[in-house]
Each structure stands twice: as structure tokens, then as C-alpha cells.
Symmetry: C2
Subunit: 126 residues, 2 copies
Amino acid sequence: MIEISNAELAVMKVLWHEAPLPAADIVTRLQQTQDWQAKTIKTLLNRLVQKGALSFEQQGRAYLYQPTIAESDYQLHAGQSFVQRLFAGKVTPLVATFAAAEQLSKDDIAELKALVAQLEQEQNDV
Amino acid sequence: MIEISNAELAVMKVLWHEAPLPAADIVTRLQQTQDWQAKTIKTLLNRLVQKGALSFEQQGRAYLYQPTIAESDYQLHAGQSFVQRLFAGKVTPLVATFAAAEQLSKDDIAELKALVAQLEQEQNDV
DNA sequence: CAGTTTAGATTACATGTGTAATCTTTTTGA
DNA sequence: TCAAAAAGATTACACATGTAATCTAAACTG
């Protein structure tokens, strides 16, 4: 799977939110949150195209960029490799680590509970 | 917090499992699983000392290495920054992503359920 | 039409990382 | 005792990444 660096990820997020977009618009949006020169963003676009994470089509003189991979696919891939790296591939210990450090709010716990309930439900349905 | 690269992490794992250890033993253990030259491992040890992730004390001519940070601290830190990066800081969506991709076994779900139950219990106790 | 702006392409450069090899010093075995 | 082994220190080198600047060609502007 394609590796996306931290800086590149910011670019991907813009395009996952809305695509296709010309470079100029991507620059505008990123500059709301990142202190980057337009040139820097062009470099990142280039690298993402080279990596195959973005494709583009010519639109007049400029390009319209769009992701080749869905955000959810990337999230899954990155999540799996992260959990593999540090938690022996199991997500529950990660959650337990957050809990032990009191990083889970009442709401978080409620959401998790609901999710688990739903998963059990699906199990029964099958 | 200290950043630990992938290769360095393998070294840390050995020492989280057992410490302190002399370089020679670390090499032996790592070579069970990694196809690395002893020199490579020495480099990693050096870098980890420079980063402050390991300390050592002289033992005759050799060094005895040991972690300066606990595995659980590193797991929490890395987990938080990962979840921040891709899941807006919330762990539940990560779990949901795993679930949606059918990456959770029946056992995983049972474990999660037990964890959630325990967290609710703790809430009540407080 | 010529100068300026602008799009993308190419080049740059420091730092981190993977993966060692060489150097220096000390110890040890023949 | 003298060469070989071994420990750590230093150096190496390619590729990735952060962060741009420069180059080139097209388009727009006065």
C-alpha cells in the first residue's frame, strides 16, 4: 500500500473532503491551516502523483487533482499497520491503553458500548 | 516525546522485555527475528542513546543498556498521535473502521465488551 | 508584441532512517 | 608478547521527508 507522509496527508485530507480540485484551490485551503508556501504544496502534489495516491486530468493549463484511494481505505491500512507495530495487531489493547491513561470520556465509553452492541447484533444476524 | 523509528522500535522491544542487557545479548536476540548485522544493531543502540530513549552503564568493557521510557508510555504517546493524525483524536472511529472491514473476531468483540463493562463500572465507583 | 505572471517540472538542501563499514582501543589467546 | 578479536565511536551512503527556489513554457496585459 502507498505510504503517505505527514505533510502529504494534509494534502490528501483536502482532496478527500472535496475533489477534484485545481492546485490553486488546494493551496488556498491548505494555507488556512498550514504555514506553507505554494511551492511547497506543489511539491507535495507532485510526490503524491508519483506515489500514485493522486491522479489528475488536464483542465486548460492547470490540473484537476483527485485521490486514487479512499480515505477509509487508507485509514484501515494505516490503522492495521500501526496496531500491528505496537499492539500485536489487536485493537483492544490500544483502547485499554487509552482507558488506563484516562483518555476516554464518558461519551467515548458510551459510543464504544453502542458500537460493541451493534457488532454483537450483526454477529447474531449472520 | 522521543520519536522512535521502526528499526529502533525492534531494539526497544527487546529491552522492554528484558533489561538491562549488554549489546551482545541484544544482538543475539534480534538476530533471531531480524536479518541485521551486529554493526547495524550497534548503530541503532547508539541512536537510541542519543535520542535519550536508552541509557547505559559501563560493565567492564561493555555497556549495559536499558530503556528510559516505559513501553506503556510510548504506546500511549504513539497511540494518541496516531489517532490524532487519522481519526480526529477519537479511538472509537478507529475501532469502527476495523469493524467495518471485518477485522474484529468474535473474541475481539467479547474483549471489547468486557473492557467497556469494566470502564462503566469504574465510572460508577467514582 | 514584449514584459510579466503563472502552471507545472526540475533542482536543492538539511535532517531522519535503514543498513552497514571502517577506525580506535582494549583484551585475550597462541 | 604479539596478532587477532571485540567493544564502542565515527563515518558512509542511498532514499524519504520537510520545505522551498529556480527553470521553462504558456498565457495574459498594457
